[in-house]
């Protein structure tokens, strides 16, 4: 139902603004780089130590010493820079990165996010996510609206261990674009093509706020 992963990435790409430095998380966020709008110059930062990250390499250019935070082989664009991990997180903590896009297991209506641990089951670690969400002024979560069991990932409060509190500003899912309001609540901004408000309501467990006007369809 609704968008596929590429559709979510395309919709998030519309949020990019000229001159922004952007950190893209693993999974759907990584795809955003493929759909930068025309006339918009952005640079991608990967927290393992590159600014000016380019696309995957051709076979002959693969370099084990050149990877992104997802451990994927990448390329460096002209004008790129390499640096160490403390410099990388200086950029992130110091608010030099204008946008962070990352995935989530759960988001709460006050902007808390959980994406690093399922107690007793999955403990992969937070990597750079806690630094990113605690620091970024502008965080977009890219995720499916519900989990594999069909349960809503937009909750009144997170059930999983938190990655950060009061930090998520916008969520783009397969069903909708939602703003997390400063006083709490998921405000419905756009519907995915052919997805009804009722479908979004039934897939959202946290407080969903629907304004008076019409809710437009995403253009992707």
């Amino acid at each position: 139902m609704g968008l596929d992963k590429i559709g979510i990435a395309k919709r998030i790409a519309q949020e990019l603004r000229d001159g922004w430095y952007v950190n893209l998380g693993i999974g759907i966020p990584t795809l955003v780089a493929n759909y930068i709008p025309k006339g918009i110059d952005v640079e991608f930062q990967s927290e393992n130590g590159i600014l000016g990250m380019g696309p995957f390499p051709k076979e002959e250019n693969v370099d084990a010493d050149l990877i992104n935070a997802g451990k994927q082989t990448i390329t460096a664009l002209p004008g790129a820079a390499f640096f160490d991990s403390s410099m990388s997180f200086a950029m992130i903590r110091g608010k030099h990165v204008q946008l962070t896009v990352l995935g989530a297991m759960e988001v709460s209506e006050n902007g808390d996010i959980a994406n690093w641990k399922i107690p007793g089951k999955m403990v992969k670690g937070m990597g750079g996510a806690m630094d990113l969400v605690a620091s970024a002024e502008n965080i977009i979560v890219a995720m499916m609206h519900t989990n594999k069991k069909g349960e809503s990932k937009l909750l009144d409060s997170c059930s999983l261990p938190l990655t950060g509190v009061n930090c998520v500003k916008k969520i783009v899912t397969n069903l909708a674009v939602l703003d997390v309001l400063p006083n709490g609540g998921f405000k419905l901004i756009e519907r995915a093509p052919k997805v009804s408000i009722e479908e979004i309501k039934s897939a959202t467990l946290g407080k969903l706020i629907i304004g008076d006007g019409e809710i437009p369809e995403m253009k992707v």
Binding site: N48, N68, F83, S85, S86, G125, D131, S135, L162
Partner: protein, 233 residues
Amino acid sequence: MIEKKVSNAAEACLDIKSGMTIMLGGFGLCGIPENCIQALVDLKINDLTCISNNAGIDNFGLGYLLKHKQIKKMISSYVGENEEFERQMLSGELEVDLIPQGSLAERCRAAGAGIPAFFTPAGYGTEISKGKEVRDYNGKPHILETALTADFAIVKAWKGDTAGNLIYKGTARNFNPLMAMAGKITIAEVEELVNPGELDPNQIHTPGIFVQRIFEGSNYEKRIEQRTINTDN
């Protein structure tokens, strides 16, 4: 110049003992000290506390030490992609301390820089902040994190000279320069070891003062975790 050259990993790691705390550079398998990891396996020491961003994969990187049950405790930020790690952790054989990646990096640098503690927003409101001092700056809560040191830091560089100066390549830099600063004794293995004067002093990433032992490594495998290729024409 002060001479730091040793002949190989075995000589560099000779006095690393069971029960010690060791920092190892690298992000995933990128920029890891392959030669010294092998030397630690060969030493058959155990009960190690390892500080490293990741825990390698099964059978390579730190996964190799895990397989031989030489590690008592891992201090890392991300430990996915490693079944043996998960098994040891869930069974309680292995202690694990997970730290936000930026805090891990900054805590190493802080140790090397004589900064015993600093405030960071990372982890506030999560289980990471439990028991830690919280203070508001610029209207935002921050937690106090402390410096992280180790008996030995083991780093991998691209080029080095016998005075201990290091240059890293690409994203293989990552934690290496920070851990080089933080070790009581720092061992550097490099792909190419040259004489003092052959590296441009303007381009040194780790000044030799932080390095106590250096050698030219051999047989680097440099495995790739995610070989992603652009097949467009």
